[in-house]
Amino acid sequence: MSEIMQQARQRLLEPTALGDRELEKLMSQLMSNQVDYADIYFQYSRHESWSLEEGKVKSGSHNIDQGVGIRAISGEKTGFAYSDDLVLPALEQAATTAKAIASSGSDRQVPVTLKSGSSEALYPAIDPVTTLEDKAKIDLLESVEAEARKQDVRVSQVMASLSSVQDIVLIAASDGTLAADIRPLVRLNVTVIVDDNGSREQGTAGGGGRFGLTVFTDTDQALQYARDAVQQALIKLEAKAPPAGMMPVVLGHGWPGILLHEAIGHGLEGDFNRKGTSAFSGRIGERVASSLCTVVDDATIAGRRGSLTIDDEGTAGQNTVLIENGILKGYMQDKMNARLMGMAATGNGRRESYSHLPMPRMTNTYMLAGESDPEEIIASVEKGLYAVNFGGGQVDITSGKFVFTSSEAYMIENGKVTYPVKGATLIGSGPEVLTQVSMVGNDLELDHGVGVCGKDGQSVPVGVGQPTLKIDELTVGGTEV
């Protein structure tokens, strides 16, 4: 038995004396109605966070959440119940509730034998909360605030936070899956306010991933976030009104890859495509981007925020090609939608917690590097926008209309970056925007590890990335007509 499976059993099953026999029996009971598939998802989640403002770490919190979610699927129907109690009677009750979705069959119990496979872990099986002494966490946040203040006298407020999560999951499914994962996740965030004689702006930077907190103390990274946040705020102080209307847009590398997440990522999730509600439904094999574009969803990069050794259904994380040289290649699938569409699961079945149903979700979504020099891309624009940093985004899956909001952007005039402009929302159509990509940079970068994706009220950590790229025409939602 792998060490991860052993640790997961110790945390989730042994305290209430649950073993394989009990799980197999419970699974057989679940399958006794006309159920096609069932799974049991055990989770223990521990979260600690500290936050600093006005030079002091004034607050900290610690949260523990644990429970088990039980799902039964019959055709396209899903029954779901959960319990925050891990004892057998509570599980049996949840199983009875969940399987009521299917018509009852005979009393015959369907035997299920669980087998644990193993996948090579993409991150260490640690509890990141314990990777740094509490005192050192405080010192780290204080050093971040000192670094920010050192940059400029106009820095009037520094807010910094540090969070660490350990998630231990164990999944048993009627297809015989028995899998476990231990997922660390850390994040450091800095927000600064600068004040220039009453004119104020804000800058934010941060990052993290699936590793321990020592990454922030062994390297200069945390201090770099502080410097980046101050620089961004100071640039925004000088920013002029943003333009309104359609124009060429150059997107910087890294986090601006949120474009891909909103414009095409959500529209390629299996559930919307099975139901025919996505603007991309039925379009596999068609051209949806310029031939310069190859986009993947890759759960397999070690230590990234969106990476998963296994997904929340026990399927190994994969690198799935979504668009290859402009042609739509595939969807992201969980087990249910894959089965109903006659496709293979792609390791994208994710859920916020045991109390939520799994569905197809992104992991790390990015565009592969092209051949253009980023400077050459900017030089090619007569008049347009150069957007290097973004806030959030959103998409209407069905119409394909999406937005993402720039937080740091500049005007390009006659091939040169001239002056900063204030944040503005960019809006476009998912199936069309990538056909407008005319240059792709050779500078692929992934984001620093800050993405949170929301869908149907469920939040999961994700990553994005891209090289610098040029979109010939996109609507910029500024105020300057």
Binding site: E76, T425, V476
Partner: protein
């Protein structure tokens, strides 16, 4: 420690049954924090929410979900230092561990002069029954029939309706207790039922989706399934054939269900946290005129059956009916005891937010507002989060209708609306009487004099 002040609260007996074990959990946590760990003060909140939701899609059940969530959260104070912890496990051992975790954190946090419980004299003295408890718990057949009827009406709204995201019936009830070592203990309780439907229309070229929902404390206040289905279907059909418009500056009407977002931005900007951090575009605006004369906005926490009603806030402080904007002037901020101390004033009973924010409306319905506007944009949906709370700069994706001579001409999409919130607030021309009361912010449609629309 419980009910130290013997607050009279007339609580339905079902609520009492749920509340009793929560009270025990809270008593144990507070007692443990003070007597075993030596905290100088502490506060705790324990809650239980339960219910179920059923979704049908294309005439068949798609999902049935049963929810039951409980949690205990605790903050301990050691003079001026604090620590917080929470747990979903309410066993005696887990409570003890949670108290330890909070106390452990408090060893490392810095002293904070403004921290601590809200002042004892601010605790709510009366906890009137706000008529928020109306359990429903529809059985599977009842919920299924309602959802089926709703979806069927929506799908029958027109031949262009091509697909469905389904119709959902949900019913939930929640009970929570907040208590602190001043001796305050208050129980909050309420039910919440909803019916929603979303369908898709196609003209062979493009697809559009829209939805409608109804939500209420009491199921008898819900719109009928047929009504929800009819509106969802019609709204979806109305969007077919949408196009961009040319970039321009134009008057804009925010339909009631999106107009509430403008008031939410106001509240963010006058909230204590943004003010003491000097990160609000409305810093130092108390007493100043930020809306036209005819705009009045109030907080009304004691409305019977309303979704945002509450007699005490997250710190046990009495909520108050009060004016926030009077004749266009900002009367007061939105503060917790912490942010109030930072600003050197008293809490306004808003730890956790405002309770039933209402804007005074005129006598125009939406068609009359469109007549008044003449030519301009009617916004029915907003996407994205392009609001800068520090500067008030505003830029969001939008969809809606182009209006000429007071009449809808055609649907529009893939555009943005932009401006600065200070300018937008000052150019509120009229508030319609078509109130949307499905949330904590209650407003009619709002006509704004001028914004920048980016399109083609």
């Amino acid at each position: 420690m419980s009910a130290g002040k013997n607050l009279q609260q007339s609580i339905p007996s079902e609520v009492n049954e749920i509340a009793a074990p929560l009270q025990e959990v809270i008593d144990q946590a507070l007692h443990d924090a003070v007597n075993r760990c030596g905290a100088s003060s502490a506060e705790a909140d324990a809650s239980l929410t339960q219910g179920s939701s059923l979704t049908v899609r294309l005439g068949e059940i798609e999902t049935i979900e049963h929810n039951r969530d409980k949690s205990l959260s605790l903050t301990v104070y050691f003079d001026k230092k604090s620590g917080s912890a929470s747990t979903s496990d309410m066993s005696a051992e887990a409570i003890r561990n949670t108290v330890d975790a909070a106390c452990s954190i408090a060893r490392f946090t810095a002293e904070d002069d403004c921290g601590g419980l809200a002042d004892a004299d601010q605790m709510a003295q009366q906890l009137p029954d706000l008529d928020l408890w109306h359990p429903w718990n529809p059985d599977t057949d009842t919920a299924r029939e309602l959802a089926l009827e709703c979806e069927e009406v929506a799908r029958g709204a027109g031949s262009a309706i091509s697909n469905s995201e389904g119709a959902t019936v949900s019913s939930h009830e929640g009970v929570g207790i907040y208590a602190n070592t001043h001796g305050f203990s208050g129980t909050r309780y309420g039910t919440r039922h909803s019916l929603s439907c979303s369908v898709i229309a196609s003209d062979g070229q493009a697809m559009e989706r829209d939805y409608w929902y109804t939500v209420a404390r009491d199921r008898s206040a819900l719109q009928t399934a047929a009504e929800v289905g009819r509106i969802a279907g019609q709204r979806t059909l109305d969007r077919l054939g949408s196009r961009k418009i040319a970039t321009c500056q134009t008057p804009v009407i925010y339909e009631a269900q999106v107009a509430s977002s403008l008031l939410t931005h106001l509240i963010s900007a006058i909230s204590g946290g943004a003010l003491y951090r000097k990160s609000s575009f409305l810093l130092d605006h108390k007493g100043k005129k930020i809306f036209p004369d005819h705009i009045n906005i109030s907080e009304q926490p004691y409305l019977p059956k309303a979704l945002g009603s509450a007699a005490f806030d997250n710190e046990g402080v009495a909520t108050r009916q009060r004016s926030i904007i009077k004749d266009g002037v900002l009367m007061d901020y939105v503060l917790s005891s912490y942010s109030a101390r930072k600003l050197g004033v008293q809490t306004t009973g808003n730890a956790g937010g405002v309770h039933n924010l209402m804007i005074e409306h005129g006598s125009s319905d939406l068609p009359a507002l469109m007549k008044q506007m003449g030519t301009g944009l009617l916004v029915t949906e907003l996407i994205g989060f392009g609001i800068n709370n520090v500067t008030g700069d505003y830029s969001r994706g939008a969809a809606g209708f182009w209006v000429e001579n007071g009449e809808i001409q055609y649907p529009v999409s893939e555009i943005t609306v932009a401006g600065n919130l200070l300018d937008i607030f000052q150019s509120f021309v009229e508030v319609g009487n078509d109130l949307d009361n499905r949330g904590n912010t209650i407003t009619g449609s709002i006509l704004v004099e001028k914004m920048t629309v980016a399109g083609e």
